[in-house]
């Protein structure tokens, strides 16, 4: 897509028609009684890809992984690994390891034995196991804890052991169900870095569930946003952020301002529309909304520029009163109330917020967003 680059490597097998998917979900449906946890889902994941699953609680992320790992049978559809249907293949014969959301550490084994468990099943030599366990413990920064039992660890430490245990076998595909949720920010960032490094060194394919969108953005090659058993959009981080396919995706990833409009004209990639109070708005129109249709004008807070003077622009100019200010350190977020009562969030980098005369509460301000940074989204 124009204007949106893949930031990491030259890795875009999903755009390469000849690339063979590593994992293929083909119209997969998984039902629990009356509940449809995964609903006719199709998805291709490529070898060495770092794939992130995002979605609200209960949308079927864990279920999707459990089908892939072999703990649940598909109700309909199939899952292929390198073209081979996985149906009927038990979990212990799949080149897949999963890190469980609940960790599932063996309570009767110490940390080292937990990590060594999978290696022993493979019949790896004793010395080699010791080395690998030590390596994994270093990786998750748990060197001093080899002889502790799981119930003698904190939540974050348990999570790291679970991660180490799933990584130890260095499988071809790793499924991580919220692997870093219990870690503090610093440790999480370090571990993210280690994971990416490990992936590049060993060529493991990762599928990771996370509730932390920043984590998904920094680590993943592609992000899939799920909603009640279906995938709504799959795209690289920048694309999914800059060009969300729907209001749902836009809302789920980051903040987005929405204004209801009617399309008045289209020209090239751009559409002109009219707000409810007659404001002229202009934005990119990737979904080819046609004249006369109702649509959302959508723009992220950081796309707005806030000023005391009316900007010199023919469109996307909004006026309002500063209702609230949130100072976040690197950013300041202004909540601006427009004439009709709707609120717009606009964020400004704090490069010059400490200026002599900063914008403050109850001031009348003008907002402007470049048409190239705003989007028309289907109503």
């Amino acid at each position: 897509m124009k204007g949106v680059a893949s930031f990491r490597r030259d890795f875009e097998p999903w755009n390469d028609g000849s690339a063979r998917p590593f994992i293929q979900f083909d119209n997969l449906t998984k039902r629990y009684g009356a509940v449809t946890a995964v609903d006719r889902l199709s998805l291709d994941i490529y070898e060495r890809e770092f794939f992130a699953l995002l979605g609200p609680s209960g949308c079927g992320k864990t279920t999707l992984m459990r089908v892939l790992a072999g703990f649940e049978e598909a109700s309909e559809g199939a899952v292929y690994l390198e073209g081979e249907d996985l149906a009927g293949r038990p979990p212990y014969r799949r080149p897949v390891n999963m890190m469980f959301q609940s960790y599932a550490l063996f309570p009767h084994m110490d940390v080292a034995k937990n990590i060594a468990f999978g290696l022993k099943q493979d019949g790896m030599g004793k010395g080699e196991i010791t080395d690998r366990v030590a390596e994994m413990l270093t990786l998750v920064k748990m060197e001093g804890f080899a002889t502790r039992k799981p119930d003698q660890l904190s939540g974050g430490q348990r999570q790291r052991v679970a991660l180490a245990r799933s990584l130890a076998k260095q499988p071809r595909l790793l499924l991580l169900d919220e692997p870093l949720g219990a870690l503090d920010r610093k440790l999480r960032e370090e571990t993210q870095f280690e994971l990416v490094d490990l992936q590049e060194r060993l060529g493991i394919t990762f599928m990771i569930v996370t509730h932390d969108q920043e984590e998904a953005m920094t680590m993943a090659d592609r992000i899939a946003v799920m909603d009640v058993g279906q995938i709504v959009q799959v795209a690289p981080p920048a694309e999914i952020y800059e060009r969300p396919a729907s209001r749902y995706v836009a809302d789920f990833l980051g903040d987005m301002n929405f204004l209801p409009t009617t399309i008045t004209s289209t020209k090239g990639d751009l559409a002109t529309m009219e707000g409810e109070d007659g404001t002229v708005l202009k934005a990119l129109n990737p979904h080819q909304a046609t004249i006369g249709r109702n649509a959302w004008f959508a723009a992220r807070p950081e796309k707005f520029r806030i000023s005391r003077n009316r900007p010199v622009a023919a469109c996307n100019v909004l006026q309002g009163e500063v209702w609230d200010i949130a100072y976040l350190g690197d950013l300041t977020i202004y909540k601006v109330r427009l004439g009709d009562g709707t609120f717009i969030k606009a964020s400004q980098l704090n490069r010059d917020v400490m200026a002599d005369d900063p914008i403050t509460w109850e001031e009348q301000v003008w907002l402007h967003a470049d048409p190239q940074t705003a989007l028309v989204l289907p109503a």
Binding site: A69, F71, P90, Y92, F100, A104, F106, F117, G118, Q121
Partner: protein, 295 residues
């Protein structure tokens, strides 16, 4: 504060009144000499001469009964045979109880209370009646023999009643719930995702059972085994009703000593030694549990 101390002491108080005090009486009895009297022994450590008299009494204590028991082979053979029968029955109960408890714990959640009920149901009828019923099943012209003859599996009725086999059957049948319940409680609360984790790491279901389920079930296995073994060693009713003349169990020996020979001191001695034998596994059990908790 006071109430919490009280609740801590309550079980000890219970133990004192219903275990330690009677045990002290039995111990005292075992150290006295038999006599033709009512009650049939010469009391020791009486209150008649006050505390001062105890010192004299202490020297008079007789360990004769203990010496006697070690000398007469009937007693140690009874002990040995009881421990043997109890051990075999415990292992049999475990072999039957474990798959039962395992099946119950893996049954659909809605079925479990029903299955649990079925395990507990026999307790609703008298233990004695249930053991009696086995006579009807096991005797020569009993149900079991009739069935086996009818099925053509045997052509002569088997002699089961009044043998050790009948005692094993009786004990296993009677104590099975005591094995199943702690095992079920343990297996039911085992986290099923642990087995998934094991499978995920390349473990076949068979291996996963031995590396995950079984070690985690050990506390339940131990509890079940002790709940069966301890009462089985001292079991009296089952060998009396189902066992033969050569079935030797300490409960019967004790009964005979008490009621037939009217030798209260010796029967008390038998009881004290039995308790000493049973305390050994209990202490081992406690040690294991402490190690489990402390490790």
């Amino acid at each position: 504060m006071k109430t919490s101390r009280f609740t801590v002491w309550l079980p000890y108080l219970w133990l004192l009144i219903f275990f330690l005090a009677p045990f002290a009486l039995v111990l005292k009895l075992s150290l006295s000499e038999p006599a033709i009297a009512i009650p049939p022994y010469n009391p020791v450590l009486t209150w008649e001469e006050g505390i001062a008299g105890w010192w004299v009494d202490l020297k008079r204590l007789s360990f004769e009964n203990y010496r006697f028991i070690t000398e007469d082979s009937l007693y140690w053979k009874s002990y040995l045979s009881s421990v043997w029968i109890a051990t075999v029955s415990t292992l049999l109960t475990l072999a039957i109880g474990f798959p039962l408890a395992y099946g119950m714990a893996r049954a659909p959640r809605a079925m479990r209370p029903v299955l649990l009920m079925l395990v507990i149901l026999p307790f609703w009828t008298s233990f004695l009646i249930r053991v009696y019923a086995w006579i009807g099943i096991l005797k020569k012209e009993g149900l079991l023999n009739q069935f086996l003859l009818w099925a053509g599996l045997i052509d002569q009725p088997l002699t089961i009643l009044n043998t050790d086999v009948a005692v094993y059957i009786g004990i296993v049948y009677s104590y099975l719930p005591f094995m199943v319940l702690p095992l079920y409680a343990n297996l039911e609360k085992q986290d099923a995702t642990l087995l998934e984790a094991a499978a995920d790491l390349g473990c076949t279901p068979f291996r996963a059972f031995w590396t995950v389920t079984w070690p985690l079930a050990l506390p339940g296995v131990l509890a079940g085994c002790f709940l069966v073994f301890i009462p089985a060693v001292g079991e009296f009713v089952i060998p009396a009703l189902l066992g033969g003349s050569d079935t030797l169990m300490i409960g019967q020996t004790l009964y005979d000593e008490f009621f037939k020979n009217r030798d209260w001191p010796v029967s008390s001695t038998v009881a004290v030694i039995l308790l000493a034998i049973l305390i050994i596994p209990i202490v081992i059990f406690q040690r294991l549990q402490q190690r489990e908790a402390g490790a």
